[in-house]
Amino acid sequence: MIRFEHVCRRYPPNIAALTDLSFNVEAGELVLVCGHSGAGKSTLLKLIAAIERPSSGAVLVNGQNVGALKRAGIAVLRRNLGLVFQDQKLLFDRNAFDNVMLPLAIAGYPPKEAGKRVRAALDKVGLAAREKALPVALSGGEQQRLAIARAVVGRPAILLADEPTAHLDQATAGDVAKIFRDFHQVGVAVLIASCDDTAFSNFVPRRLVLDHGKLQ
């Protein structure tokens, strides 16, 4: 499903964020990308969503070379991914419900079905009661869960999550981990970047450990 072939990513002036990365992720796999701060975890996820492009090598998603996509192609690609950003990127001028609605509006879902899906997603992360709340009225952990709801609402075939448990206490982190496991069990490919893997330790089948941009 996802395939890295000798991928390098260098940033100016002279930072090698990723070096000669090669691996495969199959449909339904749950992969934990681990590593120290600055190891290149976020960069790896960004390459899959075409937010960054590889300096050399190829990133293939469903057999398509993501690094060669044009604007329109990138839009299509992203509509089929679920993304949780490290800095969440919630919209602070609209409530929880409308934040989760956004990907469905972009994909052009009819409003009625979209509404049902949004409520289901909010329920899954334990925010059903707060759908009218603006993000500022949510605690850091609640914002984190809102970002996860937005990522899964479109039922994507690939889910990329960057530090999804960063602001959560252990119990809530466990709940969130279960959400990802559920998706993984229905055949979704899930990549999670996290420097803290305690929440996932009891069921993660596979780990990619990065050290200064190299796979260990």
């Binding site: 690609l77 509509r79 956004l102 972009i106 052009g108």
Partner: protein, 299 residues
């Protein structure tokens, strides 16, 4: 299809909400656009009315043809006949020697002079009004032509008035062109800035939407609705301003028109004028949006 409609509906709703969410800012933007549109529109209307007044009144140049004193009825009729076939003339009339004599007798200081004369010393004369679109040069040519006609002793052209009118028209045309140019540029600036402002207030929405797979069309659509709606509203505002100003100006303009004795009636904006104004405003709103998005959306 229903999804397409839903997307456009959402964009339109968004645009309407944005227009009402900061009423003061919206009002000020609309005001700026309205004023920028109203000035050339109003100027055009003023020029049109002013021209009409100027042409209908004393400003019209006249050609005076004096027959020789010995010209008889037949000679006078022949000239009248020739004048009738002159395309360059709007109208003409005969001022008979009798009329002239009577007029002079009525003038103070002349009565005694005239009554002391043995007969009528005045010749018959024609006063001809040339068409409005003749240039000063064309009028001069006409004058020269008439003066060679038989039994025409002299042709006078009130050419000072003609030249004055020409100069005024020249001035007016330069002024209106400069105004249109400056306000065209000013309008571009306003539209461009307003859309930039809207883009700035939506920067995070644009970024996030793009990361979630939104196309350029999806992202741009609400701005196009916003820009064209604002343009349309600004055009309507300009219409109101011009109508209000025309109302305020009616009294003094008609005083002026009355003085020029031309019986001019004030023209206001026609339905076609309004349609052009609104269409122009909407198109400008669209164009401003396109320019601004082209600059501020692609990063």
């Amino acid at each position: 299809m229903s999804a397409w409609l839903a997307q456009h509906g959402r964009a339109l709703l968004w645009a309407l909400r944005r227009l009402t969410v900061a009423p003061l800012s919206t009002l000020l933007s609309l005001l700026a656009i309205s004023v920028a549109l109203a000035l050339p529109a109003g100027g055009q209307l003023l020029l049109r009315n002013g021209l009409q007044i100027a042409k209908s009144g004393a400003a019209t140049p006249e050609l005076s043809l004096f027959m020789s004193v010995d010209a008889d009825r037949k000679a006078v009729d022949a000239i009248a006949q020739r004048l009738k076939h002159q395309e360059a003339l709007k109208e003409f009339r005969l001022v008979s020697r009798g009329e002239t004599l009577a007029r002079f007798q009525a003038r103070p200081g002349f009565a005694e002079v005239i009554s002391a004369l043995p007969g009528n010393p005045f010749p018959d004369a024609f006063v001809a009004v040339p068409r409005d679109d003749l240039s000063a040069a064309a009028l001069e040519k006409l004058r020269a032509e008439f003066s060679h006609w038989p039994k025409v002793e002299q042709v006078q052209l009130d050419s000072a008035w003609a030249r004055r009118l020409d100069a005024l028209l020249h001035l007016g045309r330069i002024g209106v062109a400069l105004l249109a140019l400056m306000l065209g540029l000013g309008l571009v600036a306003i539209t461009f800035t307003t859309i930039r402002l809207q883009v700035l207030t939506q920067l995070s929405e644009i970024e996030v939407s793009r990361l979630l797979g939104a196309t350029d069309a999806f992202i741009g659509r609400p701005f196009y609705y916003f820009g064209t709606l604002q343009g349309l509203a600004g055009g309507a505002g300009a219409w109101l301003i011009v109508a209000a100003v025309a109302m305020a100006m009616r009294a003094p303009l008609e005083e002026l028109a009355g003085l020029y004795e031309g019986g001019a009636t004030l023209q206001s904006l026609t339905a076609i004028d309004v349609a052009i104004l609104l269409g122009f405003a909407t198109a400008l709103g669209w164009l401003g949006t396109a320019l601004s998005l082209g600059r501020h959306l692609r990063d």
